[in-house]
């Protein structure tokens, strides 16, 4: 008992020492702030995007949406128990997938657009083949012990999921088995994003931390703190060297991966609503962040200023997405509509 207590104390001391070492190393490279460094960058002026389409079809709150890589099709998920695949150029619905469980929280399109996946309070990630004559369930990935908050395909044979059970999991779709389990968060994982080379991914959780993971090794490489509440949304900056997070603490933050620290804080005294979702424009200059205040606010990522707003929804904006070709933004809301802006 005494030996264990002694080891415990020694380990605690080592932890504290390492934490202080990390803080000191971060401070040592903190020679400026992003916003100060961006003083010489020309301001954007007001960014005014127009509403181009309102997609009507869901009968209840929309919780998630994801663009296909063709930048034309898009899939949305609603607690009316349906996934809808849309042709955003015409506004037509292409496929309707009825869900076994209506409590859906996440949806994803595979890069090939042959498959879509969804999951939620049922703790299961269900993968559907939407190219078949009628949508067919391909796999039910059932091993999480908490709700499915986010899912993203690597290919038609691998998918990554984030769960309320605090883990993220990489699944093999051919066998339906877990290939890797990523444990380190101490709160519900709420969101994840894949790096473009698919060697890394980032996750945001209710422990207010964002983590960078090595996808193949299964290890957490870096941890980013700063938020004071749940992180609901996370995304890579298009260069892959920085990440943006959105939180219930009403702020978004940019963390640079190579300086290993927070470099910008996107807050506004008049914004007192939590951030639910976010997406970046193709150059990374614009951050579209969906808030509980029914709007999607637009931030200048370099200068840290609010430069515009997408107003039109009658309820919380729950999901935001920019397609691969960067031609527009899609917002989805609890008001059951999806809106396309550019």
């Amino acid at each position: 008992m005494a030996a264990e207590k002694a080891e415990m104390d020694a380990l605690k001391k080592e932890c504290d020492g390492l934490r202080a070492q990390i803080e000191a190393a971060r401070k040592a490279v903190n020679d400026t702030t992003m916003t100060a460094a961006a003083n010489g960058v020309a301001p954007l002026g007001r960014v005014q995007l127009k509403l181009r389409k309102s997609l009507k079809g869901h009968l209840a709150k929309i919780y998630a949406m994801h663009w296909s890589e063709d930048s034309r099709q898009m899939v949305s998920a609603s607690q009316d128990g349906k996934l809808l695949v849309w042709d955003t150029f015409t506004g037509n619905k292409l496929v309707a997938v009825p869900l076994k469980s209506a409590w859906v929280m996440s949806v994803a399109f595979s890069p090939s657009a042959n498959l879509v996946a969804s999951g939620g309070l049922d703790n299961i990630c269900t993968v559907y083949n939407i190219k078949a004559a009628s949508p067919k369930t391909l796999r039910e990935l059932d091993a999480h012990t908490g709700y499915l908050s986010c899912c993203r395909f690597l290919s038609d044979s691998e998918i990554l999921t984030a769960s309320g059970d605090t883990t993220c999991v990489l699944w093999d779709l051919e066998t339906g088995k877990q290939k890797m389990v990523y444990t380190n968060h101490i709160g519900d994982c709420m969101s994840l994003a894949l790096s473009s080379d698919m060697n890394m991914f980032i996750s945001g959780a209710c422990d207010s931390l964002a983590k960078l993971w090595d996808l193949r090794e299964g290890t957490c490489k870096q941890t980013f703190s700063g938020h004071t509440s749940d992180i609901n949304a996370i995304s890579f900056f298009p260069s892959g060297n920085a990440i943006i997070t959105g939180s219930d603490d009403c702020s978004c933050k940019m963390y640079d991966l190579r300086s290993d620290q927070e470099v910008t804080d996107y807050t506004d005294a008049t914004l007192n609503a939590g951030v639910t979702s976010l997406a970046l424009s193709n150059s990374g200059r614009l951050i579209f962040a969906g808030y509980d205040d029914f709007n999607c606010h637009i931030w200048d990522s370099l200068k840290g200023e609010k430069v515009g707003v997408l107003s039109g929804h009658d309820n919380r904006v729950s999901c935001t997405g920019v397609p691969a070709d960067g031609m527009g933004v899609c917002t989805g809301s609890w008001d059951s509509f999806l809106k396309l802006w550019n």
Binding site: M8, V29, T33, T88, K221, S239, S259, D325, N342
Partner: protein, 110 residues
Amino acid sequence: MHIEHFLSISGVKLVASGERGEIFSFALLLYNILSSDNITGNMTSNSNLSNMRRLVEQLKLEASVERIKVSQAAAELQQFCLQNAGKDALLVGVPTGSNPFREPRSCAVV
């Protein structure tokens, strides 16, 4: 966490009235000992120790990251934004004729 909740989840039932006072104070003592550890959810000292060892290994890994100066990181992010600004449709705007989301206004000759 209320004491009754703690007792119910740890499977301890309060017995008949006479001994209640003693059982309550024992449960309170147990509760204090077990909840004084920062790592929640573990009831044995062995798993606390292995958790702690894992935490130390994780921190060692995170401490070993090579860091670049924020000024350099900021400069590179800026350069990326400015280099790609011309191709960012949401920044420069989409020409009316080729806007995929916009309803075509022209009439087609049948």
